[in-house]
Amino acid sequence: MRQMATVLSNRPVAKGAMEMKVSVGAGEIAPGTFFHVKTSQLLRRPLSVANVDGNVVTFLYKVIGAGTTDLAARKAGDKLDVLGPLGNGFPLDQTGKRVVLVGGGIGIPPLYYTRRMLAARGIETVAILGFDTKESIFYEDAFRELGETIVTTVDGSYGEQGFVTGPLERIQADVLFSCGPEPMLKAVAASHIPERYISIENRMGCGIGACFACVCQAPGGYVKVCSDGPVFQAEEVTL
């Protein structure tokens, strides 16, 4: 569960965004799960699995504060203390259905690996990726290789101007998988797509379900994002 991964590469992919590949031990890694990563700081940092290739895991992360700044300084060959994979991911069992993937900013990473796994099962997908501006776009080509991909920017500097909710209105799909900032999740959770799954990002302590830091209110009481999620059906949580 806890392991010393080895950094294979660590490079910028957009303004303020990095891609890190690490090699980890054997074991199944489901799309939508995350690793809890030790940095120079006291608490670990949750990072979604953006891709898996054999025993190589990719993280895509935005450099925000001390923890991700420390990560950005890691070099190939460095060791990285990671705990995971943790949590429960997106339900891949969507044969015959059409899935729309809606991601905003650093919520986009888990959707890439998810889309690859859906494609491997022959499931048709369409992706809507929302960024702030042209310079912050990453992985657009990688997404396009897997099917129809709509890019939006808030400032209109690339793709459709506005939020992901614009294009989402005209999409026909059976299932929605989404990850991104809370206002976006609120909007997509209320969208016309019949089945909606959202991945929630909350501040965490333990990452394994023991400390109650990451809870989210739910109709039945509460859920723990780290161990019950981070992926939930829209109806399961009260945003």
Binding site: M1, R2, K38, Q41, L42, L43, R44, L83, N202, R203, M204, G205, C206, G207, I208, G209, A210, C211, F212, A213, C214, V215, C216, Q217, G221, Y222, S227
Partner: protein, 308 residues
Amino acid sequence: MRLHVDLPGLSLKNPIMPASGCFGFGEEFAKLYDLSVLGGIMIKASTGESRFGNNTPRVAETAQGMLNAIGLQNPGVEAIIDTKLPFLSAFDTEIIANVAGSTSEEYVHVARQLSADPTIKALELNISCPNVKCGGMQFGTDPVMAAELTRLVKAASSKPVYVKLSPNVTSITDMARAVEAAGADGITMINTLVGMRIDVTTGQPILANRIGGLSGPAIKPVAIRMVYEVAQAVNIPIIGMGGVRTVDDVLEFIYAGASAVAVGTANFENPYVCQEIIEALPGRLDELGIDHILDVRGRAYAQTVSRA
């Protein structure tokens, strides 16, 4: 046997246990290692009824510390007895229940219920949680209220009662003497220091609860100083905690006068930390020429002290 420690109600195979609130009810950590290696487990606080706790964000990071304002989320004493204790009873380790409440009646109710359960070996009376509106801290910062509550809980409990002290007081020794006089069997210390962090972009506190409890390595010097003072002021044993991450931190608490040590925040950084400390202890004792760990208890204030 060089790690074995006997305390009121507790026969600890080693003096290391996870601190309350940092280990849930053990279920998650049981997937990582065998909980029977632990000297004991201090489980998450129980209240009379189930509580949701505070809004999120509930944690914020600080320099070598963290703030939390969980707000005593727990399923309530009955659900704990029915759904959590049976699981814990399977392990060969001593279970200490953390008792919380908003009124003395609630404390007494929870203490009576939990102490009656055979899985529970001792109670930890949480009079020091800074994250709940009523109860908690008030009891923990006034010696008279603390003593009165200790007396009531002692009367209701069929198991030894350890009182958990708040560091947010002018005189920690006054608090310790008050609960000792009221019948406490032991003291656990320290709970968190009250702190705050503000988001520089919004100017608003990061925690939804605004203030929270500071834990982790940052507070260790305060914890050591308080254990050192209290150990010289009372005759009941102390379970020390606050910022423990390594075997040397454990020894610092023992030198300061603690008879056992709890590990909180460090479980988040490294979920295997308690197991690793327990494994490292004998080798470190060898290096330092220490036979039994309690041979050096209180060495910081007296060169020769008897065991426990």
